[in-house]
Assembly symmetry: C2
Homo-oligomer: 373 residues x 2
């Protein structure tokens, strides 16, 4: 099977780029003397996870991070047991976690809520718990200095094993210096919270940080036990814009067919729209707005210059061609690829990867993804 | 099963509102003396389609519209055979259509391309074809006055059965007058193209128009044989803003659990983020920007005022509460519902509907959706 045989739209994964990205993060973790707990939220694939696990120093990471209980159930069904479910736990999900743990998984949960901590401690099969710390993103978590930290810890008692934070605001960083500062703030917040808890008599064995940008930008991981990047595996246009990796390091793209041409307007129409690409516009806030994605050719090469998807309807993508391609009107059915603004969201609509190796058009594998919740 | 028992995030469908919406469009079609060919792109559910088919005058519509071949295969597998696949056909998809048609389906395709028309005519099992007309949206299609219209028709020969246009630019309309003008332009374009083709000796039996706004705003359907609305079944915040329906007519919402509270900031955190809600921001261009969705309570009632999802991370939604709710900090695990900006995209991430009736919390059915391609 070759790329030109595939039904469109679909998702293409370049294993060569993936493995390069995995090796790079593994080396960064090794250099920082910190364990890597890769986040499944982006890949949602056991096949990708196996490569990620094999890529690390010393046999690679053992533990993983998940964003949904569907991911947790899927990976534990494949024998990967050591997990952190990195979204605030609820009573209902606590029961689901307890069930998976009773069947052999070791899913750790996070909370930043006093009442929820009490619920966990009262559960008949409580999981291990990390307290979520807010290091500046202001999404979930409490500040490392908050009085509630010790209150939550007291409720959790021996179920408490660690602290976790995520410098998601690193996505707003636009320079290496800014990234390094955010990474350091992330580290300091986690370590400070861990030290406060230890000073209160709690045994803290996991001090977990990490976004893909800060995992690479951090200069010190002193006091940190693990990092949890996810998007680094695939990369995307937004991460390239903020300097996490180069433009040649994007492993995933959408394959689409030309369904219309408007040479008079410098436009072509593709059968990949807002479901296949997502409506993510992350690059709108960067130096190079890529619309809903940047067009590359069937082999993944940037031969179409700055041709981008300027409009995304449900099943139609309108491409404004690079002005250097004035009369480009490929035959209907020609295939092109679209690099994602935000790969986690592009991938979300697709239930499998068609895997290629470098610029070969041969499909060497089909890897399923675990979508939904 | 009750709403409070459901895993979150998930999709809730209110059958009462759905049926009211279906009846309203059926009556509009009847009043306009035009057939209704409902679009499956929004609902992607045979259960919804059956209600839509039953809702029309005279036993309801027979034909349907699809946006993917996955929808086509699914509905033909359930015995609904008369379809228009309303996205420009490619050679590869032509083969898939021919296969489904050989198995009993009657899938009609659309094109605006001379070479593609020739490919269709040369096929050993060609489907019926409609020529796509551009009535002002400038997405696909050719202008009704284009010389190419007759050239394409000549290539298609007896495979040609109709013309099709879609006034998607009605979504930019902001008044009843503007909508009525766009609806009339849509009608005139389709009728004019059909008349040019008839004058050239082609038998044109289908003259197909329609978006949900123009289907309701059109004052005349003279010369039109059918309308193809889809989003009217469910409605959404954007359609309410542009006047297609009222705020109480939104049939689908996402159910989410509270996973964090920040009473000091007037915020709560939900477990529905940019996958469960989509990153659609349609209402940003209307009088009432609803962020990534408007919060209603578990029963679907607007008891939380203007509380909206202001930030959407992959699995987290940050809600800015209405200022009239200064100390609102519901317990972790409490459930709320989120009305969609654009229901087609919110629904896209979900593989089923949990169906309720009005403000009852009882789940009366679970209806599958056909996702992907």
């Amino acid at each position: 099977m070759r790329l030109s045989d595939l039904p469109t739209p679909c998702l293409v994964l370049d294993r060569q780029v993936l493995q390069r990205n995995l090796a790079r993060m593994a080396h960064a973790a090794e250099a920082g003397n910190v364990a890597l707990r890769p986040h499944m939220k982006t890949a949602k694939s056991m096949d990708v996870l196996k490569l990620a696990m094999a890529a690390g120093p010393g046999g690679g990471p053992r533990g993983i991070t998940v964003s949904t209980l569907a991911e947790a159930e899927y990976v534990s069904g494949h024998g990967a047991m050591d997990m952190i479910y990195a979204v605030g736990i609820t009573p209902q999900k606590l029961d689901q976690v307890a069930k998976l743990n009773a069947a052999g998984a070791d899913i750790k949960v996070i909370t930043d809520d006093v009442a929820m901590a009490a619920r966990i401690a009262e559960h008949n099969n409580p999981p291990k718990v990390l307290i979520e710390i807010d290091c500046g993103e202001h999404r979930g978590g409490l500040e490392a200095e908050a009085a509630r930290l010790l209150e939550i810890a007291a409720k959790l008692g021996p179920n408490l094993v660690g602290v976790l934070t995520h410098a998601g605001h690193s996505y707003a960083g636009r320079s290496a210096k800014a990234m390094a500062e955010i990474a350091e703030a992330e580290r300091v917040a986690a370590v400070h919270a861990a030290e406060r808890l230890r000073a209160s008599g709690h045994e803290i064995t996991i001090v977990s940080i990490g976004s893909s940008p800060t995992a690479l930008a951090g200069r010190s991981f002193e006091g940190i036990t693990e990092i949890r990047p996810g998007v680094y595996m695939f990369g995307d246009l937004f991460q390239a814009e903020i300097g996490t990796h180069g433009h040649g390091d994007i492993a995933v793209s959408a394959l689409a067919s030309v369904i219309g041409t408007r040479p008079d307007q410098g436009k072509i129409l593709l059968d990949a729209g807002s479901i296949a690409l997502s409506k993510d516009r992350s690059t709108a806030d960067t130096a190079h707005d890529m619309g809903f994605g940047l067009i590359v050719d069937l082999k993944g090469q940037p031969s179409l210059g700055r041709s981008i998807v300027v409009k995304a309807y449900q099943e139609h993508g309108v491409v404004a061609l690079d002005p250097s391609l004035p009369n480009f009107a490929p035959p209907i059915g020609s295939k092109l690829r679209i690099l994602p603004n935000h790969v986690c969201l592009m991938a979300a609509a697709h239930d499998r990867y068609f895997v290629v190796n470098g610029d070969s058009e041969e499909v060497i594998a089909v890897w399923p993804r675990v979508c939904g919740w």
